[in-house]
């Protein structure tokens, strides 16, 4: 199969197929239709995509998402406790996070993770893609926040993408 008619983005194709089957239920007919979509859509939209990142260890992505789910639940509990405690006022802060990731998709993943987890929302990225502005809901120590994000999320993403 040459590059013109193959699967230029295997991960995208797999995602499309899975989403199609989840939407329509498992059946042979929808399997075939889903396969056609999974093959055709990436080919048709190929020119619209930025250069594809090399995902070195796809199974690590699954681990990463599993950890993210656990963290989301924990984060929600922390935020809920903060919100429901009337004597507690949050100590918000803006933190500039120095990025070591380079690929736009990897940065997007990191920013999304930050927005979904422990009391932080990623607000902006500098034009040279080296700094990420994070708003923390309740954080007294910027350095430890930066370190925590680096160790917990950016390092695994670095291993996966670079």
């Amino acid at each position: 199969m040459n590059a013109r008619f193959g699967f230029p983005r295997p991960l995208l194709s797999l995602t499309l197929l899975l989403v199609w089957l989840m939407l329509n239920g498992l059946s042979a007919g929808h399997g075939v239709l889903g396969l056609i979509m999974a093959w055709g859509l990436p080919l048709f939209t190929r020119d619209l995509w930025p250069d594809s990142p090399t995902v070195k260890k796809p199974w690590r992505l699954l681990l990463y998402f599993a950890r993210m789910m656990v963290d989301i639940i924990q984060a929600s509990l922390t935020v809920a406790r903060l919100v429901l405690n009337p004597s507690r006022q949050p100590k918000p802060s803006f933190v500039s996070y120095p990025l070591t990731l380079e690929h736009p998709l990897a940065i997007t993943l990191l920013a999304g993770t930050i927005s979904l987890t422990p009391g932080t929302v990623s607000a902006d990225i500098s034009d040279d893609r080296k700094l990420l502005l994070i708003h923390a809901l309740d954080e007294l120590d910027d350095k430890s926040l930066i370190e925590a994000i680096h160790n917990r999320y950016e390092k695994p993403l670095l291993e996966i993408f670079q």
């Binding site: 809920a80 009391g119 990623s122 708003h135």
Partner: protein, 110 residues
């Protein structure tokens, strides 16, 4: 419907309701725009997530419909919640929305 299914559905619904309510309280109680951004991206994600899970369990046990269509709601929510939060934050910075006095650091100039 077996008791265990009923129990887990009820628990999931209560958890979902509590988290959605917490998100709403946060929206009302937190001091400025940026801190209010944290409500919808977190508490609500878990809230909607557990309600969707309850729906999966309900339809699997009552109608024997074993698909995971509700999980897609969660997937799309996880994909879109950070983006909407990001756009709200950018818009707020562009309009120079005021932060509370005890906020450390500054938003960037747009």
């Amino acid at each position: 419907m077996p008791l265990i299914a009923e129990l887990s559905i009820s628990i999931l619904l209560v958890i979902g309701g509590v988290f959605a309510l917490t998100g709403a309280i946060g929206l009302a109680r937190l001091p400025d725009f940026y801190t209010r951004l944290h409500g919808p991206t977190k508490a609500t994600t878990v809230g909607v997530g557990s309600i969707a899970l309850a729906s999966v369990v309900y339809f699997a046990t009552s109608n024997a419909r074993y698909d995971l269509i509700e999980l897609l709601i969660m997937v799309f929510l996880f994909l879109t919640a950070p983006i909407s939060a990001n756009f709200l934050a950018k818009a707020a910075m562009h309009l120079k929305v005021k932060t509370t006095d005890d906020t450390r650091g500054h938003p960037w100039d747009q």
